[in-house]
């Protein structure tokens, strides 16, 4: 058998190739690329691995904007211990492997003082052990319940947002007593979704309710119609939490499937973060409920801190960008970057932090913290911090869709989400 097929048989035009390579060489040696060499001395350098691309891109875009606004404000306030804060952003592609590489890059090339901003739990789970090995303080803005479960390490902290376990524990009593006890769960089939599945199942059981079906959807799924027939007729409440670029498709298809006779629906706002509620076909969501860490729509009792936060980040009263009302923020999550940055500032000031040789002091200072008062630094609300588990606790909001907007109908207390954990990272070596 004779094969004439040869994928490498085309000829080359040397001049063109040299030009291309020359262009690449010039681009790679430009000052913009050699940035680490030009980093300013005497600044506090914070590495910000962001989900600029990949399935977390809509979160990443707003995380970056929020973090940029927070850094600007910190610098306007005089920096940290008199030092200017410099934020170095790199894309991690919402990919665990690249996320880990970026953490390594921050630690060993940029030699940052701390890293903050990772959200997706699969990226956090991969990157946190490396941060621990490299002994660089790593502040996650995730909701992963990994810290309380003792799976991470002494250098990893979550001081800006509560974890899934606390969230579902705080809300289960309200769900069980107000909208129904027989729940069907639809969740993404990876750690974040599994946390929802496991912790909510236990929490609703404690309320005398039960989960009648658990529908796991692969995170890369783009069409959901085939999953909905698994919803049992006895379902009183559909509990949904989805993430990624297909969330809008998911919610639309859910509406199409359910039609006019639907059970109560309780969703995590993750299913509609960065999505406009006024999208046609989302009308069926009227009267349904959502969890929000931080209410997207400015409420009647809006605090001055919320006004301040929206103004600084550039978000209007509807949770959209001031520059473009069609650009909806990930309001319920992105505050975590803001609050985390101010916690880092506070801890560095406590430790009288001057440079990377004091990273251990920063860790110890973090572990000594117990609470954060509501204010401009913590616009989402007051919080309690557990220095042993490195996890923060706060209030949750349950909002109802009314007139195409979310109105808060219940706000939990901090204590509702507190849970015991045998984990004590302070016993680990520094």
């Amino acid at each position: 058998m004779h094969s004439k097929y040869n994928p490498l048989s085309l000829s080359m035009q040397r001049r063109t190739a040299l030009k291309t390579l020359g262009g690449a060489a010039i681009a790679l040696t430009s000052p913009a690329v050699l940035r680490p060499g030009f980093a300013q001395d005497g600044t506090i350098k914070l590495g910000a691995p962001m989900h600029r691309t990949g399935i977390g891109a809509s979160y990443g875009r707003w995380y970056e904007r929020t973090a940029t606004a927070a850094v600007k404000l910190v610098n306007e306030m005089g920096g940290i211990n008199g030092r200017k804060v410099e934020m170095i952003v790199e894309d991690d592609g919402t990919d665990p492997k690249r996320g880990t590489e970026v953490v390594e890059k921050f630690a060993t090339q940029y030699k940052v003082d701390a890293i903050f901003g990772h959200l997706f739990s699969n990226v956090v789970a991969a990157a946190a052990p490396r941060a621990g090995e490299l002994k660089v303080p790593y502040f996650i803005c995730s909701e992963a319940s990994l810290l309380g479960a003792g799976k991470l390490n002494r250098y990893t902290f979550q001081p800006g947002i509560t974890d899934v376990r606390a969230q579902v524990q705080a809300m289960a009593p309200w769900i069980g007593s107000t909208i129904g006890k027989k729940v069907t769960m639809i969740f993404p089939d990876y750690n974040f979704g599994h946390d929802h599945r496991d912790f909510f199942t236990a929490a609703i059981k404690a309320q005398g309710g039960e989960v009648v079906a658990k529908i796991a959807v692969p995170p890369t799924e783009t069409s959901f119609t085939r999953y909905f027939p698994q919803i049992p007729p006895s379902t009183e409440v559909i509990y949904h939490v989805m993430v990624g670029p297909a969330v809008l498709t998911f919610v639309k298809e859910l509406g199409d499937y359910l039609g006019s006779k639907r059970p109560e629906i309780f969703g995590f706002i993750d299913s509609l973060e960065a999505v406009n509620f006024n999208t046609p076909q989302l009308g069926f969501l009227e009267g349904t409920y959502f969890w929000e860490a931080y209410p997207r729509y400015a409420q009647a009792n809006q605090t001055e801190f919320d006004k301040f936060f929206r103004e600084k980040v550039g978000v209007d009263a509807n949770g959209a960008s001031i520059a473009d009302p069609k650009d909806i923020s990930t309001y319920s999550h992105m505050f975590s970057c803001w609050e985390t940055l101010f916690v880092i500032k506070q801890a560095m000031e406590m430790a009288n932090y001057r440079g990377p040789e004091q990273k251990k002091d920063l860790v110890v200072a973090m572990e000594s913290m117990t609470s954060f008062a509501e204010g401009k630094e913590h616009p989402q609300g007051a919080k309690q911090f557990n220095g042993k588990t490195h996890q923060v606790f706060g209030s949750q909001n349950i909002s109802k869709v009314e007139g195409g907007k979310l109105k808060v109908v219940h706000r939990t207390k901090i204590e509702d989400g507190l849970y015991e954990s045998p984990t004590d990272y302070t016993k680990m070596d520094l």
């Binding site: 097929y5 090339q109 946190a128 089939d189 990876y190 750690n191």
Partner: protein
Amino acid sequence: MTASAFRKNLTLTLLVLAALLLLQFVLPEYYVLMATRMMVLAVFTVGFNALLGYVGLLSLGHAMFFACGLYAAGLSVYHFGFSLPAAFGVSLIASAALSLVIGAITLRTIRVSFMIVTLMFAQVGYLAVLYFAEWTNGQEGLSLPASARQMALGPWTLNIADAVTRYNIALVLLAASLGLLLFYLKGTRGRVATAIRDNEGRTEMLGFNVFAAKLEMFVLSGTLSGAAGAAYGLLFGYLGATFASFQYSIEALLFTLLGGAGTLLGPLIGVVLMVAMIDKLSELTSAYFLVIGVILIVLILWFPKGILGTIRERWAPWLL
């Protein structure tokens, strides 16, 4: 290959390896880490290139073998507490066995069908990693504990998470894979392989068992890829489904095309340039994959023989 050409190739390979050995003393910390990663990926690409460059078979599913080695080594350490050498041995056996089975099936197809079938098998591999989440922890993956990445070596403890140790292990692995391929190509079997690439019909007419020769190279290629996967998992301590994804098969192709398919050191050059480029471009733009896509198109259209392939064509015909 003449004796003098072999000597030249051997000398060049040894010089490159010696340079890599010395490099660890001058490179800053981050670049030592990068170079380690590059060398492991180079082993993967050497494996991929063994098939594409020397037999002319373009597989689009080599991430499967990389992931096979990664998980075979990682899971035997994570779940069963295997020692590091034992885990590495398991990964070699597993990836050799997998490539034997997959090769026996896919080599019944040719050209585009071969690409599609290897791609489909790789997708099965990727989905299997997600499906057996109880063992693999699916998308999130597993991190090997620090204690599992150490082993006793006489009176000493060898910590493979240590940057210098890791660098040298990667270097030894790269040297072994280059040496293996060099000597393989020097022998009769290597010449049969390249004969198949140049003219499969004629090789068959001459009485050689083409299928067996292709399968042999397929197994060698898959095992080298698996060894790279195992090294990656053990040295960097993370096992994730990403490594089994389509993107990884394409990256191996890209590295090979850039460095020069059918050249011994081309994969190393391709990996070094491409990984450095991804790392630097990602600082400038989030569209770095777009740029890399454009580079691939440019390569295929105007630069199809890659860097070493072009050098061989113009200046150094003895290059293997």
